[in-house]
Symmetry: C2
């Protein structure tokens, strides 16, 4: 392959600045690469080992050696395939948002948490995630890997939450996860709406909290003297999504 320039270009995609400049991101592993090959994503280039089992190899495919793969991979144990993908350009579809259940993320910092939440949304049939501009980037290598392919199916948008929440149909219920909200197990939950999940340390910001019409909490069952402080945000999102969707079985 693949001069030094090419390697440098791929490795630069670890950083948001270069992903934004180039409009590209990286995904690795045969399974994830195959999901991307079958998705609507546009491919920039594809690198694979001679024995990689891929859905298709197109003109953009370059067969490389294990050593070469090691030099371009972001994984501790490089896989058989690495794909460079064009970031999709999508606009928020307010009509769809107003008619479905959606997740809003207010400054989620950890790329692994974000990846897990994208994967969760895929499981629960939630199609849109709206993120504050300070939320971790969904196209960072760590997040892409943590989505296990869900990144192909979920639309993730970045915006000023204040602007976004202002534009939402006023009849749409905005839920928020708080430590002091209403017991989610007993709350009246609608099949449409927005659910705001807050930052790992600080929770939901005051600016976003203004828009919350129904505060929800997952009750703590611990009876320890030292109270456990909170749930991991991806675990909390899992429980909240499950509780909204479960109601369909009642």
């Amino acid at each position: 392959m693949t001069g030094k320039e090419k390697i440098k270009r791929i490795k630069s995609l670890e950083y948001k600045k270069f992903r934004d400049e180039s409009g590209l991101f990286v995904a690795e592993g045969e399974k994830l690469v195959n999901e991307i090959l079958q998705s609507n994503f546009e491919i920039d280039s594809l690198f694979c080992l001679p024995d990689a089992v891929l859905y298709n190899r197109n003109i953009k495919t370059e067969i490389i050696s294990e050593n070469e793969m090691k030099r371009i991979s972001f994984l501790k144990t490089p896989s058989a395939a690495l794909i460079v993908v064009k970031k999709p350009i999508k606009k928020i579809d307010f009509k769809q948002i107003n008619n479905s259940l959606n997740i809003v993320l207010d400054d989620i910092q950890d790329p692994g948490n974000l990846g897990t939440i994208i994967r969760l949304c895929d499981w629960f049939g939630i199609r849109n995630i709206i993120c504050s501009n300070k939320t971790a980037d969904c196209f960072s290598p760590k997040t892409v890997q943590a989505t296990m392919g869900a990144i192909c199916r979920i639309s993730v948008f970045y915006t000023e939450l204040n602007d976004f929440l202002n534009k939402i149909d006023k009849n749409i219920t905005v839920y928020g996860a708080f430590l002091e909200g209403e017991n989610i197990y007993k709350a009246n939950l609608l099949p449409q709406g927005l659910i705001i999940m807050g930052n790992e340390g600080k929770g939901i910001s005051p600016e976003a909290a203004k828009y919350v019409r129904q505060k929800l909490c997952i009750p703590c069952f611990s009876n320890n003297e030292i109270k456990c402080e909170s749930l991991n945000v991806s675990a909390a999102t899992a429980i909240v999504c499950s509780e909204f969707k479960r109601r369909g079985f009642l």
Copy 2:
């Protein structure tokens, strides 16, 4: 401080081999260190910056500089306090297990997932986690940090699952999370029992599956052609625990 030997000793605790040999583990950050100082854990030694705000400083405390902290810390951004703690030695209390809800982990590999599950159990008042010997070590620095202090309150045991499951009261229901189980939202769930969660890639092993009396699944709500494959194991555990505990409100 703290000769080269001391630094080497602390840094060696990144590895299970050395944690097992010394019977020690490390925790970092004022908040976590304070929780440990207030817990039943025995302290080996405590290192802190001059301005660290700690619950107590005892004879085992050594005040160090930021540069010294950098050399012993496992964190990207070192904190104001690092504590070396003796691993607790506990035996499984079968009577307690038979009378409560417990989590069984069958080869969970990721230290972050394990930490999140320990934190979850704390939230949901689940006191015991029984792990297969191949499950990630709960005293690795990554897991300890991910528990956010829950490691002080939850008993985590390592054992051969086959032996353990054999010794359990035969009247205790063993639940297992499978992709093809009964819809958990509709299932009859008891307040006591064991819930087995399987490995990230392989799920529950055939040896452990033999003991499962009730297979449960979290139904997938996605309507995509390419089906989403699974939930992250800590997200799945969150949903399962929530569903068992929610029933108390019915």
